[in-house]
Symmetry: D2
Subunit: 278 residues, 4 copies
C-alpha cells in the first residue's frame, strides 16, 4: 500500500490516498474501483471515526480509497462552495492519475457521512454544472462520479439540521449574509437538483436520528424515485447519529455498536457489486 | 407441530395455523410470538409462494405462524371491507386461544405481501375503528396488532396498482359502484390513516418494481415518519415484483433469486428482536 | 404442510413427517430433498430440543423433514441393533413414498445429534450390510442415505461417553452381557467401518465438550479422510454439549446461545448446496 | 495509517507494518491487537495473494497488521531455522515498540498460509526454546505469541508436501544434507512439539487440497486436543490449495472464489473475539 498525503490547493486541505499494491500474481495491472470518503462533522471538522476506518473497510474489499479532509468553517466563511470545489478536484485527481494508480474511472464512488453526506449529495447533483467547470478550470466529464453512498446525510439545511438554536449562525457561516438566503438554501438543497446527471445512490439512515432527521434522506429518496435514478435505501429503526461502521471498530461508546445497522456495509458492498462498480 | 385449518365464518375462508410443540425440556409453557401472514395476489387469489414458505421461515425462528387465505374478488364483490373483517377475526382468534396455544398477545406481528400488504397496512391503520368493532362484534383491544411487516405492499389504489388498463374494473370489484369513489379511495389509502394507533412497521420494496411502484412504500414511510411511528424500511435497488423470500425456496424462475433482497428476512428478524417482539 | 405421525413397527416408535405443500405456482410437482433427524439423549430418550426445531429449520429451506423417535433403553435392552433397524425402515419409507410425498430419493440426508449422531454415523457406515437386509427384509439399495450431518456425535463407546461411572451399566444396556464385549464395541464404533459405502459427511463439535469429547469426531474425520470420503468438519473452540441450533430457539439457558456455533446451520446448508443435495 | 517497511537483519528481509492511526475522537490512545502475517509459497517465495489483502482485512477490523517476507530458499540454504529467527525478531519488534505503536502485547496473533503456516505452527510450538533465545539474544517472554491462525498449513514435511518428485531436493534445501534427516524432520514437525507453551489455535483447510493434504491439519488438531490447547478448526469439503480470502479480492481465477470457504474470515474474527484477542 502506498499512503500518499496530498494538498489540494492553496488551502492546504489534505487528501489521504490509500493505494493498494499491484502484484504480478493476481489481478495483474488490473484497474481497481475507488471510493472517496467525505467524513462528517457538521462542517466544523472532519471526523476521524468516519475517515480511515471506512477507508480500511473498503480497502479490504479491493478498493483504492481516499479520505478528503475538506475545508470547514474554521478555515473559511462563508464556506460554500469551497468543499464542492475540493471534491471536484479530488475526483479529477483520480481521473488524472488513473493510469499510474490503476483506477477504473468508471468505478469512482463517493461516500459521505452526515455533513459529508451533504457535500457528496450536493456534488452528485451539481457536478456537471458550468459554474463548477469555471471554478476548477476543468471540463465536467473529467469529474463525473459513478455512484453515491450517503450515510445519515444532511440533504438540505432546512430539515432539522442545523437546529434552531444554531441555525442563523450556521447559515451565515455556510452561505454568507442573509441576502438571497432562500435562493441559497434552495441551491444547496440536494433534493431539489436531482436530474439525469445524478448517479445511482445508496443511502442509509436511522429513523430516530435526533441530530439529522431521517426526513433528509426521505426527501432525497423521493426525488431519486421521481427522476428514475436507481437507488437503494436502508432506514434502520433505531440508532444514534454518527454510527459510522456501527461496530467495535469505530465505537466511542456502546451506543455506537448496533447489530442491525452494522449490516449497512455488506448491503452496500452487495449493491456496488450488482451495479458492477466493484 | 399442530397444523389446524379453521374456517373463519360463513365464507369458509381458511386460516391455517402452524402451532409449534410445547416441550418439557425447554421454554416450558412459555408463550411464543406469532406471525399472521397475508399472501398477495392482487385480491384475485392468495399466492402459495407467499404463504407456507413464509410460515416455515418464521416457525424456524420459534414463532407460531398463521396463513390467512382471505376472501378475494372471485368470492365477493364489492370486496371491501370483507378481508379486513377476516383479519380482525384472525387476530382475535389468537387472543382468544392465547392460553391454549401459548401465544404472547403482545407479540402478534402481521406480515403482508403486495395486495396482502395493502390488507395489513390498512388493518394496521384502521384496526381500532368503531365500524370494525360493530362488524366483528368485538372490542378493539382484542384485535390489536403489535407490529406490521409489509413486503412490496400496495398502500393505496392510486399509485400505480391497479394499472390504467384494469383500474376501472378493479375499482368496481374492490370498492363498488363509482358513487363516492374519491372518498372510498381515500378510505382505503393506508398512508392517509397513520396515527398513534399504528403499530411499529418494517417495510421493504424494490425500487424498480413495475407492478406495484415503490412510491407506495415511500408514501407510507413518509406518513409513519410524520406520525413518529417507529419504522424500518429497506428499499433494494433491483428486483421484480413478488420476490417472496428471494431465494431458491420460493423461486419460480431465476428472477426470483436475489442475493441482495434475500437479506430482508435476517433484517426483519433482527428488527423484531430489537423491538422485543421475538 | 401435512404432519403425519407413523408407527414404525410393533415397538410403536414414532416417526413424525413434516411434508411441505405442493403448489401449482412454483416448483410444481418437483421432488424435494429430505432430512431425517435423530435427536440425542444418550439412548435414554430423544430430546425435544433436537427434534422439531431442527425440522422447522430445514423445512424453512425447502426440505421435507422427519423426526425419528427411535427406541431407547427404557423400551428395550440390550438395545442394539434396534435403532439401526428403525432408521433403515425410515429411510425405506421415504423411498417407498417418494412419488406420493414428492421426495428426491438421491437427496436423503440423515442428521443426528449426540447419541443420535452415533446412530446416524453407525447407520452411515453399516447401512449396506447383509445382516441388516435380513432384519428388515429389504434390499440395501432401498435404504441408502445420501449424506450425513453429525452434530457433536458419539462415534464409539470408548472415547469418553459413556463416562466411567456409568460405563458398565450402559454397555450392558446397549450391547448386552459382557461376552464378546470387545467385539461388540468394535462393531458399533463408526470410525472402524468407514468404507466406500459411507456417504459424504458434515460433522461439527465443540473442542471443550465435556460430555462427548471431540476426539469422537476427530476419529471419524480421520477415517473419512483415509477412505477418501468427502467430508466437511467444523470444530468450534467453545461450547457446552447439546447446543442444538445454538440460538434462542432451542436455548434452555444462556449457555445454549453461542454466536460462533450458531453458524453451523448456514455452513451445513451451503455444504448441502455445493453437494447438490438441496 | 503509517506504512513502514523495515529490514529485519543483514538478510534485508522486509517487514511491512500497517499501523492504524490513533485518534482523539475514539479509542483514544487505546492499544490495539496485532496480526503478523506469514504468506505461503513453498518456502520458494512469499505470495502477494496472502500478504497485503490479508493485512487489509484485519486492518478493517481494527488490528495493526504486519506482513513478514521471511527468507526463502533462493536466499539461503539450508534454510532452517532462519525464518523462525526472523519471526522471533518480528514478534519482539512488536513488544519493543508496543508503547509507540499502541500495541497490546497480549493480543499478538500469528497468521500463516501454507508454508507460512508451517513457519507459524513451528514457531508456535518452539518459540520458548532455549536455542532460539541464543540465536536472537532475547529472553523467550519477549517473543511470546497469543494465538495462531493456520490457513491450509504444512505441519510437517512428511505428509504430502513436498511431493515425492521434489522431496529430496526440498529436504536438502530446507534441512541440509541427509545426515540425521529423520531427526531434522521430527524437529520441524509442528505436530510433535505441541505443549503447554502452544497458544490457542484456529486452523482451516479444505478436505480435497491436493498440494498440502488435509492430514497435515488433522495431525496438528489431534496434537492440540491431546495437549488440551484450545483450538478451533474448520475443514471445508471442497476447494483448491491457496484460496487466501476465497473471494474476488484475492482471486486469480474462478477457482479462487468459494462461497463456503470465504466464511473463514468471519469465523476467525468471531473466534478471536471470544478469546478476547480482538
Amino acid at each position: 500500500m502506498r499512503t500518499l498525503k496530498m494538498a489540494l490547493d492553496n488551502n492546504h486541505k489534505i487528501l489521504t490516498c490509500y493505494l493498494l499494491e499491484n502484484s504480478n500474481e493476481f489481478k495483474v495491472n488490473e484497474r481497481r474501483p475507488a471510493v472517496i470518503i467525505c467524513p462528517g462533522g457538521g462542517y466544523d471538522f472532519t471526523s476521524d471515526r468516519e475517515a480511515e476506518p471506512i477507508a480500511m473497510r473498503f480497502a479490504a474489499e479491493g478498493y483504492h480509497t481516499f479520505v478528503l479532509r475538506y475545508t470547514c468553517i474554521s478555515d473559511k466563511t462563508p464556506l460554500f462552495p469551497q468543499p464542492l470545489i475540493e471534491l471536484a478536484k479530488t475526483v479529477h485527481l483520480l481521473y488524472k492519475n488513473a493510469d499510474d494508480w490503476l483506477i477504473d474511472k468508471e468505478k469512482i464512488t463517493l461516500c459521505g457521512f452526515s455533513a459529508g453526506g451533504h457535500l457528496v449529495a450536493t456534488y452528485g447533483t451539481k457536478w456537471h454544472e458550468d459554474w463548477l467547470s469555471e471554478k476548477v478550470s476543468l471540463p465536467s466529464e473529467e469529474r463525473k462520479p459513478s455512484a453515491l453512498l450517503l450515510c445519515y446525510p444532511v440533504i438540505n439545511l432546512t430539515s432539522g439540521w442545523p437546529g434552531d438554536e444554531i441555525k442563523n449562525k450556521k447559515y451565515s457561516q455556510l452561505l454568507g449574509e442573509e441576502i438571497k438566503l432562500e435562493q441559497k438554501l434552495e441551491e444547496f438543497d440536494a433534493s431539489k437538483h436531482v436530474s439525469v446527471h445524478t448517479p445511482p445512490t445508496f443511502i442509509w439512515h436511522t429513523s430516530n436520528d435526533r441530530v439529522v432527521p431521517v426526513s433528509n434522506s426521505l426527501q432525497f429518496i423521493s426525488s431519486l424515485d421521481k427522476s428514475h435514478i436507481p437507488f437503494e435505501s436502508h432506514i434502520f429503526e433505531n440508532g444514534v447519529h454518527g454510527l459510522s461502521l456501527a461496530n467495535e471498530v469505530t465505537a466511542r461508546d456502546d451506543r455506537h455498536i448496533n447489530d442491525a445497522v452494522k449490516e449497512w456495509i455488506p448491503l452496500a458492498l452487495t449493491w456496488l457489486k450488482q451495479m458492477r462498480l466493484n
